[in-house]
Amino acid sequence: MVTKPGIAPALALTGVNYAYPTAEAPALRDVSFELSTGEFVLLAGRSASGKSTLLRAACGLVPHFHGGEIEGRIEVAGIDAIASGPGELAAVVGYVAQDPETQVVSTTVSAEIELPLEMRGDPPASRARAVEEVALALAIPHLLERAVDTLSGGELQRVALAAALVTRPRLVLLDEPTSQLDPVAGDELIWLLRRLNEEWGVTVLLAEHRLERCLAAADRVIAMASGSVGFDGNPRDFLTWAQDADSALETPAAKLFSLAGIEPLPVGVRAARKTLSSSEHRGKGSRTPSSLNLFGGEESAGRERIAEKVQDVRRGSGSPSTVAVAVRDLWVELSRSDEERRDVLRGIDLTVGRGERVALMGRNGAGKSTLLRTLAGLTDAVRGKIALRSEIALLTQNPSDYLVRERVGDELPGDAGQAALRVVGLEHAVDADPRDLSGGERQRLALAIALAGRMDGEALPGLVALDEPTRGMDRARKDDLVGLIGDLAGRGAGLLVATHDVEFAAAFAERVVLLGDGVVIADGPAAEVLSGGWYFATEVGRVLDLPGVITPKQGAEALRGSPGGSH
């Protein structure tokens, strides 16, 4: 049965079961729900819970492109998605995948955005207008003439979104669209989607791991668990459900309230601040964020404590005996095209101590990856000095690039290989095929490959650098990574981790270096840097706006320590 597109729900799934070819377990189990036109729905869940499969089924890639067996019924704007293919659904649904590099099929941005319209047979004038309008809506008209292989990850993600939106589809499906974006671009993208949702009436189904980034924008949350719908309701009820069902899905602000015993759980910063400053709470003796203070004392005491930490960090990292790497006046120039060259790093001074855990943050294109590549010798500096006390092991953004053989033991033969496997906790997987390992295990194996032979016995190299290691990771896997980083630092390696994930940085880093346009714009203890701003601050930091308070635990202590904080 085909319903009229104007009346039909944007997406309707009824009793959908699906298994990939050769998969032992089904990826979707009895999934049923309906999305009305104009809804903004957040799809939550751990890694491998079925989120991406659900999105692929909604745009026709499952089963038409991926194969496998499917049961049940999927309708997109009244069109039977199982009977029709992705091509037929292209007019009513737009899809943005997790990795923007795999969703670019043209060489220039304008050609990429124009392609769906051309395939549909729109006349040239109409195509030109649609490209112009969507480019303006997404603030990318300046990119239209650029070649796609010169774009940053964030720019590429916007181009992919533009190509998905240019046909004005009724339903937009997004699979972790902010995973490669810096906090500023990530926030901008979510609110841009919200604006398009409100102004164009587009139904949005957004899968994300960083729920704190988009929960406040959502009308509804669907949480997947082992291929089934575990929860379907409004964001506030979702937080209550997550508190009991899966704490890995709790947002930091909800965890803060939960630890401090405050209700209702907040769906975002605004709601949290409103609750904290409400008359009801003030009446019970609670403090407004601006009047709360840290460590149970005066705010100035907290600031003094941070100032001491700053001094500690600078003293510790500067001591010659403990230095893992010292960079002085580093300049790096890269070319964007044959003609255009620009300074990506401009006079960087940086010292990382042994055993120190440093987060390297900044906007897309700020120079984080270039700095790591230059330290590892992949990119040449045009000026400056790098003093490495011993070797550096660098893990780039795609761990699969390190894996070229069919057996873990073949990648890491001999005593040096075994020692590296022990360090990352994979000594049991010697005979496994790297492709059979989980995403987290593959990352550990790649790190072991980078470490092998650079260790003196069991002692690690001076510096271990990781470039965006949390792409596509759920919170449970991030917690594992935090544990590994702590372990490596405990063994004496300096850890320099480039990341966009503020909450992850707060969890592992003792110091944060913030890059902006190739220069260091902030360098200090994580508690200081991640609590003093808006974009490069944790959700707890933004809720409480207290110096040094960046994690839910610290926030709950601050709330409890405040006079009358007896919730």
């Binding site: 899809y95 590099e101 969703q103 099929v105 047979g121 729109d122 992949l378 690039d401 092998a452 032979g453």
Partner: protein, 332 residues
Amino acid sequence: MRSPFAYIPRPRPLQLASPSAAVAYLGSLVVVAFLYSNPFVLLAVGLSFVIAGRLAGAAAAVRAALWMGFTLALLIVVVNALVVSRGETVLARLGEWPLFGQVDVTLEAILAGLVLGLRAAVVMVAFAVYSACVDPDRVLRALRPIAGRSALTATLVSRLVPVAAADAARLRDAARLRGPGAAPVGRAPLARRLLAGSLDRAVDVAATLELRGYSLQSRDPNAGATFSLPQRGERRFTGGGQGRRSRYDRRFYAVGALVLSVAVIGKALGADAFSEYPATEIGVATITLAVAAVVALSGLAPLRRMPVGSHREPRWVRNAHATELGQGSPGA
């Protein structure tokens, strides 16, 4: 950093030509490379691609392909010399080798290997010029009528080289970052990994193409025309569809037809005189040299004629003017 094989839009004849015209021109030369074994003709084909690539602004791609091609040619010469023992002029008797048996290195086997290697190098340069000069976007659109139901086929034809080039750069970096205790990355595992990875990524790109409606029947058969708005005029040579033609198309079709005709006629008249064994004989008849000359000159097809009124004087003339005006010296 961009791959030297990546397509860069330039307002030059080969890039401006429609994909079918460019493929007809480059393809005719590749056909000659497979049709002929005479080294003079093969060298002429190679020279033609080098000239064409340079005129089209793809000198970096030609250099990279020559380097790779000569490496491959050297490998072929060595393997052929060890595997083939035919030929009258024995240069060295290397005795019994496991798997190979009696190994006699002959001059004829080396020369035969050189011809095979030369052909492989010429084909690599041809693909380098194709990859760097023919717009994959337009190839994708041009393929739609014949491969509309198979986005994967279209992706493999138009995007595999750029995707593989990008992956190769990343894999090379990862290989350099391996610790000294990890197994070294041999060429074979790397090539396997590169091929598998590129195919996987090509499948992902094909999925995106499906989502963009590639397999749909277009409502308007002329929809491939490019932007008509004046402010998008500069995009005319970067985007556009399968229906757009270029004023250079006829030139490339004509040169391609001429090269093929001359090659076929020459072959019939004995221009491909070459035999490897038992003694190497290379024909240098007039007809062979004539075919080689036509093929080599066809490399000038992408030559751009300067627009009327934009004629620039040679540098020495400009310098002479400047000297007269007291602005510099001839040697400046």
